[in-house]
């Protein structure tokens, strides 16, 4: 613990030697990570919206008229026994008519048309797992269509397909943004840490000669990189939270990133900070070992 404190104070002292450079690095990192956080925030909310739609994914099974009471009950039981099915609701032609009349604002449809033109219908909702899998709805529709008494099976194939395609795009866009942001973080920190290292080259030469190990020399730089990355990701998340707070007035229901995402975001950025610092000091450190070799910059 005291050892960590020693290295932290070394890192902090090093930071104090180039405040402007440190701020430049921190600003760049925060900007990059903020953009990533915004993409993640958008992705998260789009996925959330899609989930809600998927929950409504289901089938409408229209039946032929005049089925005996018992047959309807049998069919409902059968459909309920399918693994993909969460709920089966029977709506008689009268109930369906009343629903439509309510939606139309109290117009008396049956009076206008003389007869009820509607068919009785089963509304089937799928379990969330089944809803998430591609092709399930279509397969189920084909299976149900062959039963006696079934007139027609309808499902929103068009919007289901495009929803799935859209979600794939969102997924790739988020992944792409993540990769680009990682590369940017890597390059910025690589440069910052290398400058900090080269600025202290003489000191490091002295440390080597008095018997400092590589890890002793490296440690403050790894901590410096971690400090930059962690601070930048905290700031980025705060700015993203602020942005959501501003936007939620216009878009109620806009959600912030779940806790698990923010933890991964912070940990990932920190790890990346350590890795890029490690990569950055490794080659100049090695070339210092042989005194006649020039330090590569």
């Amino acid at each position: 613990m005291t050892r960590l404190r020693f290295f932290l104070s070394e890192a902090w002292e090093m930071q104090g030697r180039d405040v402007a450079g440190g701020l430049a690095s921190l600003t760049a990192l925060t900007a990059v990570l903020f953009l990533l956080a915004v993409v993640l925030l958008a992705g998260h909310n789009i996925r959330g919206a899609a989930r809600a739609l998927e929950g409504r994914k289901g089938l409408e099974v229209f039946l032929v008229g005049d089925l005996p009471e018992g047959r309807v009950g049998e069919m409902a039981e059968l459909f309920r026994s399918f693994g993909e099915v969460a709920e089966v609701r029977f709506v008689s032609e009268e109930q369906e008519l009343r629903r439509i009349e309510r939606e139309l604002g109290g117009v008396d449809v049956s009076e206008a048309m003389g007869t009820n033109p509607l068919s009785p219908v089963f509304r089937i909702t799928l379990t969330p797992e089944a809803a998430g899998r591609a092709g399930v709805v279509q397969g189920l529709a084909e299976e149900i269509a062959v039963y006696e008494g079934v007139d027609e099976v309808l499902y929103g194939e068009a919007w289901i397909g495009s929803l799935e395609r859209g979600l794939r795009h969102v997924y790739w866009a988020t992944a792409g943004a993540g990769i680009l942001a990682s590369i940017a973080v890597l390059l910025v920190l690589w440069n910052t840490i290398k400058l900090a290292f080269l600025g202290r080259r003489e000191t490091i030469r002295i440390l080597k000669i008095v018997g400092a190990t590589g890890s002793f020399i490296r440690m403050p730089y790894l901590l410096l990189g971690a400090m930059h990355a962690t601070t930048a990701s905290i700031l980025a998340l705060l700015f993203a939270a602020l942005l959501r707070w501003v936007l939620v007035a216009m878009m109620p229901g806009l959600r912030f990133l779940p806790l698990s995402w923010t933890v991964v975001f912070l940990a990932g950025a920190t790890l990346l900070g350590i890795l890029s610092s490690y990569a950055s000091v490794e080659s100049p450190l090695r070339s210092l070992e042989r005194s006649h070799e020039a330090v590569t910059s």
Binding site: T2, L207, K208, I209, V210, G211, T213, S291
Partner: protein, 230 residues
Amino acid sequence: MIGFDHVHLRYPGPGHEPALEDVHVEVPTGQMAFLLGPSGAGKTSLLKLVTMEERPTQGRVRVLEFDSVTVRNRELPSLRRRIGMVYQDFRLLRDKTVFENIAYVLRMTGVLDHPTLQRIVLRLLTHVSLYHKRNHFPDQLSGGEQQRTAIARALVHEPRILLADEPTGNLDTVSALEILEIFRRVHTAGATVLIATHDESLAARYAERAIFLEEGRVVRDARPARGRGL
């Protein structure tokens, strides 16, 4: 013990003459030896072989139980903690005080509690008569004081070998003699001391052994009686 077995050293790059050629000498444990010769003779190169900053292109160098042929890079820190090294240009950390320069090397090896640090560092500073300057920065010290700080730092791990490369090169005669007196005390305490210098009059005063280098070769190896000249 420091041993050179038919050592050749050639720096990489085209057109370099060998810096050392067929050097074959041994400095036994506890000896106070001088390495003499004009600038460019190869004195610094020889010391770098001892700290293993350089490895011989041919032959082998033996230092304590380390061997240049078999030593691994990760063993170098422990080798260097057992060798004290002093330079002409002192090589102090400019942004740290005298106390901190020495304490830093201790912290490096995990000595972190303040009372222990204080005890070791202040004892060393007393040893080189710098106790009163412990809170000064290197730039606030004379050359002799800076060199004494560097010696205190070199002694922090109680090394078995003390190496010095032109330690008096930047100092006036009085400071130079002070430095050499400290080296003699270290030698008396049992350490092997190897000093590279082009100043033969200093060597004449203190040397048990004088190794003369010229153009990378040992040209004379003298064991003068103390105070009788080389």
